[in-house]
């Protein structure tokens, strides 16, 4: 018994000593800083699903970490400070996210929350980050909320091409090239679906009511068979099919539209445009797969797999070199130097913008200053992995960093970008 008591006392004393050490950390650095910044380090945090059904997204922080390692080792960090990136797992469940956010803020004491993944998970801690005035910066989700709600949540900002802007790109193309289209819309009955539908309507403007002839919906989690929705839209006389669904539903919608003899022109939301999905659908359709050719979608990042187009591109070369050198133990297929994993490419592209912003902040490394630069003064034209011609930009009134992209057409077994960069920025 005495032995046990002594051990307990020692443990207690030890933990008290540790606590004391933690609170005595002094910051002697001459620059203006906030927690998470020391004279030789910038500590960023992130929350991504390392486990669970959405763990494919974990390639994103792998791409980010590889880029930070490259900047640390080959560029001497950012103004002499090494970037450290703490990544926590919330398994894509909003029930886990609040504790993870507090762990980053209060225990790890990160400078900011970088690239956090998922719409429901980000929404779960948006109030928290904003109440703490810690940036929830460049979140990895395409929801319109981050830009739209900026005045209410000035510490939250997105990065990627948002749903509404993408939809406005399609609208711009349709108005210019197919002004007499009769559009049928299939969308997921939630916030994600309505972002795309509202974006299209806003883009079509006064012609929206006459051009959109029918809509059909489904709920996330429904059986993936879209035959009844497709039959409903076909019956409206639509000749254009705007598909706002996740991949499994999109595949069913396209297959049904073709096999039922409708064969409309397809517009496919980027959420469901991975090449692997459509290669599979094409195999499934066999002889009638040619009806899929010409399906339109949108893209804003380079595809390293497309070697004819990007084989000698400096940005893609940089991606490959970095993944080879620093991907090392982080990268497991498919997140490797080939670029087969788009999430990996995406991660490195966002990390580039993050480093860009930190550089601009210079010696004024406060959360407020970094957030101001990111949300109001961003103008990046040299991101190595976004399509040439895209400007990652925010202003005092526009908080959607990427609102541009290029359209692409499906051709037998791959997507072919065409035309120039189109802007989908809201009015």
């Amino acid at each position: 018994m005495i032995g046990t008591r002594r051990v307990a006392a020692l443990l207690a004393a030890g933990s008290m000593a540790l606590l004391a050490c933690g609170s005595q950390q002094a910051n002697n650095s001459p620059t203006k800083t906030d927690p998470g910044i020391t004279s030789n380090q910038i500590l960023l945090g992130g929350i991504f699903p390392a486990s669970g059904t959405a763990s494919a997204y974990y390639s994103i922080p792998k791409g980010m970490t590889a880029y930070f390692d490259y900047v640390n080792k080959e560029k001497g960090g950012v103004n002499g400070r090494q970037i450290k990136f703490d990544v926590l797992d919330d398994a894509y469940s909003p029930a886990n996210t609040p504790a993870k956010a507090r762990q980053l803020a209060e225990e790890d004491k990160v400078f900011l929350d970088f690239g956090q993944l998922g719409t429901p998970t980000n929404l779960a801690v948006r109030d928290y980050w904003n109440s703490q005035q810690i940036p929830q910066l460049f979140v990895s989700t395409g929801s319109d909320h981050w830009g739209k709600d900026y005045s209410q949540y000035p510490w939250t900002l997105g990065w990627q091409l948002n749903y509404g802007s993408e939809a406005r790109m399609y609208a711009a193309y349709i108005l210019q090239n197919e002004p007499n289209d009769k559009i049928g819309i299939l969308y997921q009955n939630d916030d994600y679906g309505t972002d795309y539908v509202n974006g299209l309507k806003a883009g079509l403007g006064g012609k929206a009511d006459s051009m959109i002839v029918g809509t059909a919906t489904y709920n996330a989690g429904d059986p993936t068979n879209m035959s009844s929705q497709v039959a409903k839209l076909k019956a409206t006389g639509a000749d254009t099919f705007y598909v706002v669904t996740t991949p499994a539903y999109a595949a069913s919608a396209v297959v049904n539209a073709i096999t039922s003899g409708w064969k409309p022109k397809f517009y496919m939301n980027a959420v469901a445009n991975p090449t692997s999905v459509w290669k599979q659908v094409s195999t499934q359709l066999g002889g009638s797969s040619s009806a899929m050719d010409g399906m339109i979608s949108a893209v804003y990042l380079k595809d390293p797999l497309d070697t004819t187009k990007w084989g000698s591109d400096a940005g893609v070369q940089l991606f490959k070199t970095i993944m080879q050198k620093y991907g090392g133990d982080l990268a497991s297929p498919p997140c490797d130097a080939t670029g087969a994993d788009g999430f990996c490419v995406f991660g490195m592209a966002v990390a580039y913008t993050m480093v860009d912003v930190l550089k601009k902040a210079g010696s004024n490394l406060t959360r407020k200053n970094v957030m101001d630069i990111a949300a109001k003064g961003l103008k990046e034209t040299d991101n190595p992995l976004t399509l040439p011609g895209i400007t990652i930009q925010t202003t005092a009134t526009d908080h959607f960093p990427i609102a541009q992209g290029q359209l692409e057409k499906w051709n037998k077994d791959h997507w072919e970008p065409f035309g120039s960069i189109i802007s989908g920025r809201g009015a």
Partner: protein, 338 residues
């Protein structure tokens, strides 16, 4: 009688510990312990249903969702004081639990598990479907609670005390119920329905009652959790939550009054430890640790601790006698774990 002394001793030490914890932890850790309180309430409820009355439920996450949404909607939309919504959430969930308990009377063992499994699976789609009412995918947020009457506590400390006060308000009646007539009836039903019925125990009454009480506890737990987060979303109530409750109950100690505390501690803190151990594959470490615990403590942590305590006092014989009567047999534990 001696068991009572032991329980009282554990209780006193427990309360002392609970008072110390928020003073020596940082905000994040305090917040984690506040969540432990909420999960502990839910696991006490599940333990009544599964551990004591022998009805396996994979669906208690659904009852938690009812509590959570009651609190969130009443607070955000109707402007109710958040504390008032806790009993309402509990009672609503309890009512639904009673209703679920009626058809459940016809199901046993693995079939009941499957039926409640369906309940757990349906939560997210149902909440998303009635999005006009529930806020759908976007969820419902409200203003985070702060300590009332200018009590000099941080927000996290207040959440902590709120959680543990509610825990005690629910733990004491559960304890009284379980050590009295009702508890004995539940255990009799669990051990043999035929024998219980032959002794004049109303099967339908006691089994439905267990469902209702269990759901009430789950509802209160859901309210507490949503107060901690100040936000609720359909995706929070995935199957994983219900499974976590089951894991917590089994690991803590099936049909052991203290089990839920250990189980809740584990469910909240083990993922954290696992993540520190193996950063990129926390689920792997979580699984490994789980297996270790199950192997080392087949009667759960509470069972292990009690056996340890009794062994220390040199009363091995008593240990073997009491564990047989008041804990689930290993065979029963197996049945639930598989």
């Amino acid at each position: 009688m001696r068991r009572d002394y032991l329980n009282w001793a554990i209780g006193v030490v427990g309360v002392a510990l609970l008072l110390v914890v928020p003073n020596v932890t940082d905000q994040f850790q305090t917040f984690m312990f506040a969540q432990v309180a909420a999960y502990a309430v839910a696991v006490v409820g599940l333990n009544i249903l599964t551990g004591y009355s022998g009805q396996i439920s994979l669906g208690n996450g659904a009852f938690m969702a009812i509590g959570s949404y009651t609190t969130a909607l009443l607070t955000a939309r109707a402007g109710w004081p958040v504390y008032l919504t806790i009993p309402v959430g509990g009672l609503l969930a309890g009512l639904v639990g009673l209703l679920v308990g009626i058809p459940a009377l016809r199901l046993r063992g693995i079939y009941l598990a499957l039926a409640t499994f369906a309940l757990a699976l349906s939560v997210t789609p149902v909440l998303n479907n009635y999005d006009k009412f529930t806020g759908g995918h976007l969820g419902v947020g409200f203003k985070a609670v702060t300590p009332p009457f200018d009590i000099p506590l941080s927000n996290e400390q207040w959440l902590y005390f709120l959680g543990w006060i509610v825990f005690f308000l629910l733990f004491v009646p559960a304890w009284l119920l379980l050590r009295g007539r009702t508890g004995r009836a539940w255990m009799a039903v669990r051990d043999s329905e035929t024998a219980a019925a032959a002794n004049g125990i109303g099967l339908a009454y006691y089994k439905t009652l267990a469902f209702g009480i269990s759901a009430l506890y789950a509802g209160v737990a859901g309210s507490l959790l949503v107060i901690d987060f100040a936000y609720v979303n359909p995706d929070s109530y995935n199957l994983n939550l219900s499974l976590q409750l089951l894991v917590a109950m089994v690991i803590g100690g099936l049909a052991n009054i203290w089990g839920p505390l250990f189980g809740a501690l584990l469910v909240v803190w083990l993922p954290y430890v696992a993540e520190k151990a193996v950063n990129s594959k926390p689920d792997l470490a979580f699984g490994a640790l789980l297996i270790v615990v199950v192997f080392l403590a087949p009667n759960g942590i509470a069972g292990l601790l009690r056996r340890g305590l009794l062994t220390l006092r040199g009363r091995r014989q008593e240990a073997s006698q009491t564990t047989g009567a008041l804990e689930a047999t290993p065979a029963e534990a197996d049945q639930i774990a598989t």
